[in-house]
Amino acid sequence: MTRRERTVDVLVVGAGPAGLGAGAELAASGAGHVEILEREQTAGGIPRHCFHGGFGAGRIGGGAIGPVYARQCVAAAVRAGATLRTSVTVTGWAGPRTLDTTGPTGLERITARAVVLATGARERPRSARLVPGTRPPGVYTTGELQQAVHLFRQRIGTRAVVIGNEPVSHAAADTLRVAGLDVIALVTDQPPSPLPAAPVRARHRTPRLTHATVTGLTGRERLTGVSLRHRDGRTTTLPCDTVVFTGDWIPDHELARRGGATLDPGTRGPAYDASYRTLATGVFAVGNLLHGVESAGTAAAEGRAVAASVLRHLAADPWPTGRPALAVDAPLEWIAPNLVALDGSRPLHDRFTLRTGRRLLRPILVVGQDGHVLHRERLLLPAVPNRSFRLRGDWLDRVDPHGGTVRITVH
């Protein structure tokens, strides 16, 4: 097998907002030859097919639409001097910081002084959610739907049901309407949302079925319905020819895991510290690979923030060992970052990101280690599933570097 062997200073895998942010900042700060690899033919990541606003701005309704934002991210990385190569797929590891690639120009083996993984996240498909029934056409995730409608102008169907009730679910409903479908219901197994709906959503009076579980799909040549079970045990079938499974994000962690970057059991992304260092020496991770889906702006900010850590590593900073892990107790689902760096580095904006499995009204979060309470904090707003909330990071210097796992519990 003939592979062209090359070396670079930093290899970034994935050219979404996180990878492009990392590449731009690294190239601009003199990290040497910074190369970004993207397996799609066009760089920009998920925003390429998010035809709604809010990208690159801090408030709802502002900012660019996704494709414009994606192009801005690409332009910034290229302008900064990063080498961006599309249609190049990383297929595996040949060494601790050596990656094998496939592209139309052939096979390569690229060794880097530092690797930044920015492979993003995807929605769990129907199969991974173990939704029983038949397997007819007409079943989508938001990612497939948006590409089909916005990038390929494909015909979708006539009557749709959206599974999920989070921002991406509403984006899916909007895309369905653009494609001319009637969105007959948004279905969620969660209770009614305590948060007011954003004004933009109020225009569309899509019924929301809360406390409803999807029990099956019907149809053979084409989807004919989505069966539900309500909280009171009633069952119904919504007749439709299209269903979109939204949210339920899973980091695209294959490369991280195959490279020895042990996963965090909560996020399913690589375990990492506030300097974005994984458990594999010289391998950093940024963006939605770390925690399922946060906004593109957060992913980009994490990408930019990794540059300082990578530069320190390139300047022969030793890779940390024996970092205590951070873990959560139910109903909390995960915390990110989830390793304590021990070198004083702090998470982005000095805040940890957490998710809960059920709604918590003004909870008190308690951080403890080996029986000692390190920190106590009451949240001012309710914490709800599928939306992140934050925990201050100013207690990190109280962690015993030789102690056990730091646990976050709810009181």
């Binding site: 496939t102 120009t105 052939g106 995807r122 991974a128 995730t141 195959r258």
Partner: protein, 477 residues
Amino acid sequence: MTPTITATGALAHRLPDGDGDATTYDVTVIGAGVVGTAVARELARYRLRTALIDGSDDIGNGTSKANTAILHTGFDAVPGSLEARLVRDGQRRLAAYAAVTGIPVERVGALLVAWDEEQLAALPALAAKAERNDYHAARIIEAGELRAREPHLGPGALGALEIPDESIICPWTTPLAYATQAVRAGVHLHLNCRVRHIDSGQDVHTLTTTRGPLRTRYLINVAGLYADELDRQLGHDAFTVTPRRGQLIVFDKLARDLVDHILLPVPTAAGKGVLVAPTVFGNVLLGPTAEELDDKTATGSSADGLALLREKGRRILPGLLDEEVTAVYAGLRAATGHEDYRIRAYPDQRYVAVGGIRSTGLTASMAIAAYVTELLAGTGLDLGTPTELPPLVMPQLGEAFPRPYRRAELIAADPAYGTLVCHCERVSAGEIRDALTSTIPARSKDGLRRRTRAGGGRCQGFYCGAAVRALIEEARP
């Protein structure tokens, strides 16, 4: 010779040319599953005008597409049965055929794991049964060796019977290879062609199909779940097909490191039970359930079925349940209530019925084809001298062999093989193009997935679904 493959329009326009009665086939094979395509391939070696017809829009689209993808040794068959003989013979034939045709096969071996004293005590009898089936490599291993060879096995395994030659195989490439060779050698393939009625005359059967009448002198019924209904049309009451549903869960490729062998349960009165097995695509399979149904279209999965599989899987390989699920599917086996295949020739009617081909059908397919051809000759049809079919090399889908994305020379010659479209399964634009323009082209996403793996990976289309659909649309005439 241009292959004749039709999927629309009246059949009348596409009947064979030739001497004598030019509108009649010599032999028609009803059912293009793995056995039907194998029979058609075997018949293609003779100078016969042969048709292969199927009710769906693709070959291998029924029971054949949804099985456990194992190439069996036949160690546990009923000794002396037709099935035992044809599985043993078929295993040898298919293993040899796969090697030259590029059908992925991995000889991973099987372990029948005993989880309690009773099961442990049953192993010697199973080893003796294997001997009676002319399989001599079976060996009982102790708990320590079992643990060393399958370190992720759940607690409590007491020992196992090792069947070193049980193998895994690609269930989709196999019938596609058979059908491709058959049609290239002149067999006519008619899809979307369901038989509604059979009228048997003195010399000719007239099949009323959804695409019009088809005349044939000889008839082979390989209709799987529907074989009993056709058999009744011809006046017989030899067997009744009761669909037995098997639901299966396919786990992510990252789970592949958890298991090295096909892990079989010790069979009980309740059936063969739930297995865990690697696939040639690098996934891990958990299943099947065994549910007797009366609906021959009930290929859906159920909440109970999936819960049962997860419960069994947790016992066998606890780590498996932490892995992501890639796919869930269900297949229907054509159970007949008999412990053996129901293959029978009716010389007076110029008819061979092939019924009750259950989960061993993939393994036995080539042997069944040879046996059916022999029976056909016995009904008075002069087959003539067989010829060798031109060899065929199929696209490589197995993870244990170099796929196109890993082949520098292929990509240098055609960069489309280096342009990946389906990222999870690493399927290139070149492979998709080939499958859409091949001898028996893919007509649907499902058909394309079975030929290339495109869309069959962990994201199930999140990344590539729309692009793959666009390529299929472009290829439509």
